[in-house]
Amino acid sequence: MPQMNMIEAIRSAMDVVMDKDPNVIILGQDVGFFGGVFRCTDGLQRKFGEHRVIDAPIAEGGIIGAAIGMGVNGLRPIAEIQFADYIYPGFDQIVSELARLRYRSCGEFFSPVTIRTPCGGGIHGGQTHSQSPEAIFTHVSGIKTVMPSNPYDAKGLLIASIESDDPIVFFEPKRIYNGPFDGDPEKPAVSWASHPKGEVPDGHYTVPIGTAEIAREGSELSIITYGTLVHVATAAADAMGVDAEIIDVRSLSPLDVTTITDSVKKTGRCMIAHEATRFGGYGGELAATIQKDCFYYLEAPVSRVAGWDTPYPHAFEWQYFPGQKRIAAGIRRVMEAAA
């Protein structure tokens, strides 16, 4: 099976779908001739032409607004937002239009736009290249929100997203574009080649939206996480020798509640981890759901480890980012709580 990093897997997903369906087009800043600032669309304009891989003006609201109109006219647009930090100028079009068009027209009109956008920290990007704004999209009815943690899922979920008639915000944790990251910035970079999920079929396949995955089985506690932190949490649990079950949520909305609550019912202890600021974050939804469904199984309160409630500070990236130490501290808190 071919080895791909996440960039290659994402590119392959678009390549495969564009080959199959002439209505799939890409619209975004620098995506065309240049191939995207993270190279995700590299070569696609050469292959599919400049009428299908289109360089866009720097107007995120315009990109999403135009993509909606294209979708209404039978195309299947993939809109790239260069950084998730720059998605907000398109927020109104996403919330007020993309999310509600099918509902308000009772299915007569809809627009199957997939919005791809790199998110998350760990790349020395400072406040405006490191954000994780996924929570606000999960609160919007009519939108699905997805975040893969590895090349295999990235390709399968992206194909599923593009082919879905529902609008999807597809977050790409850029810290792990080139290799899994265990949270230690001092360690030499590792590539996806050594990771089982770096094996990615060349052709068409999908990973269904709405399913979580058990990234690592375990019995002592459940760690519910997604994106880059799947790898950090795994490393932290390994280092501590804790038999943690790690759930990669993958599909934030719709959420695969069963896989998560089955795990927590089994382990009786639960920690949630995400990069985004904690207050009002997606961890709140997870914790609320878990405590409700697993109340009689829980031996300790559900705990959250998350980005601090500050903007993402450039120089204190590694004190801000929920690294192994913070996750380990979180695990200890959950494990030490009296049952």
């Binding site: 315009g62 509902y103 709405g210 719709p254």
Partner: protein, 416 residues
């Protein structure tokens, strides 16, 4: 602090109690504006954004190069549609006042916009309207009873009770779904037109916003994308002088006509007498032709007047002179077309009155029929369980369980 302030505060020419004053409106005499070829260069037709294309003169004659020279029958049909729009609005307004629907918006005084432009476009062209374009839906074949059922949120409501009254949509008629958010449809039209061009089709798109809405970001997005990709789209600004209580100067209309807004991007603008059906028709045909031939977008400013309150929630006597409409120099589009037809010997007061009676009867009949599908106070009612449909194409489990939970609590409409 106010005393020393040097900030310019735009002010309308008249407020309640003042004499209406439209001296700020620059008018060109009917027939006086040159009509360029469809292939003319943008730079050579900038004048169109500062003049006012008019065909009907004060003596009700059609004049000049923009005269589309339409057959009398076609004009009678246009008059009929405008009247239907007006009669329908009047009835629905009353109905709202009686508390039988929750909300309504009239197009009174602006009927020529939707009717003339619908006539000028082809059926395959896609319309992205604002909430004052009900005439488009009518012309594109939506039944009055369907429009009423939408306003009633009853069992025949095309929106299944999910939208405020007047937020229609018709896929078969190629008129988009109306949004409560201003100007959001503008970039959709541009994207739709881009897709049409990409697919090599010759359908064009058209969209409408009000003068006030031009300040929104989406106006800029739409113009920029339309200019960059030369999208086959007509971008209309319906300048009815008011945006709720704010006059058009609050949106930046004090210095230049809205038609000039795209010039800096190379988008030609045409300012047209929006109450002159012939002129509106002619400029729209011109712009559509241009778009279809690959000439790119055109911005049309339709100068008109919002004859009624903003909506049933509004009371304009609080912010503008009561008799302002009567003083509007471009008059009433219906009256003007009527007089033109009479002047040319193709219409009469008697026929007009009879037509109005016919249309009133048609509207009344539709209203009677619509009520059979349910009213706000009497069944049949839509099934509330349907509110969980169409949020997604593939609904997540949680919506199913919420639907069940809802049904546990509310078994029928009375059971709140």
């Amino acid at each position: 602090m106010a005393n020393k302030s040097r900030l310019h505060i735009p002010k309308p020419s008249a407020r309640p109690g003042d004499k209406p004053d439209f001296s700020y409106l620059e008018l060109s005499p009917a027939g006086s504006v040159d009509k360029p070829s469809v292939g003319a260069k943008t730079r050579d037709i900038e004048y169109l954004s500062h003049e006012l294309v008019r065909v009907l003169d004060d003596d009700h004659e059609a004049k000049g190069p923009w005269n589309p020279v339409l057959e009398p029958e076609k004009l009678q049909i246009a008059l009929r549609w405008m009247l239907l729009n007006r009669v329908f609005d009047e009835r629905m307004w009353q109905i709202q006042r009686q508390g039988r629907i929750s909300f309504y918006i009239q197009a009174t005084g602006e009927e020529a916009v939707s009717i003339a432009q619908a006539m000028a476009l082809r059926a395959g062209d896609m319309c992205f309207p604002s909430y004052r374009n009900q005439g488009l839906y009518m012309y594109r074949g939506m039944q009055l009873v369907d429009m009423m059922c939408q306003c009633l949120s009853n069992t025949r409501d095309m929106c299944k009770g999910r939208q405020l009254p007047i937020m229609y949509h018709t896929k078969s008629g190629n008129v988009f779904s109306i949004s409560g958010n201003l100007a959001t449809q503008y970039p959709h039209a541009v994207g739709w037109a881009m897709a049409s061009a990409i697919k090599g089709e010759d359908h064009i798109a058209a969209s409408w916003v009000g003068d006030g809405s031009t300040a929104e970001a989406d106006f800029h997005h739409a113009l920029t994308f339309a200019a960059v990709y030369q999208a086959p789209v007509i971008l209309n600004v319906v300048n009815n002088q008011w945006a709720i209580s704010s006059f058009q100067g609050t949106a930046g209309g004090e210095r230049r006509p809205f038609a000039a807004r795209g010039l800096g991007l190379g988008i030609p603008g045409i300012r047209v007498d929006g109450n002159d059906l012939l002129a509106v028709y002619a400029v729209t045909v011109w712009a559509a032709d241009r778009a279809r031939r690959g000439g790119g977008p055109t911005l049309i400013e339709l100068v008109t007047y919002r004859g009624g309150p903003h909506s049933t929630s509004d009371d304009p006597s609080k912010y503008r002179p009561k008799d302002e409409w009567a003083a509007f120099p471009l008059g009433d589009p219906i009256e003007r077309l009527k007089q033109h037809l009479i002047h040319d010997g193709h219409w009469s007061e008697a026929k007009h009155d009879k037509l109005i009676e016919e249309l009133k009867a048609e509207v009344l009949a539709a209203w009677k029929e619509a009520q059979q599908y349910g009213t706000m106070t009497e069944g049949p009612y839509l099934d509330p369980a349907s509110m969980f449909d169409d949020v997604y194409a593939e609904p997540p489990k949680r919506l199913e369980s919420q639907r069940r939970r809802m049904l546990e609590v509310y078994r029928d409409k009375g059971d709140l």
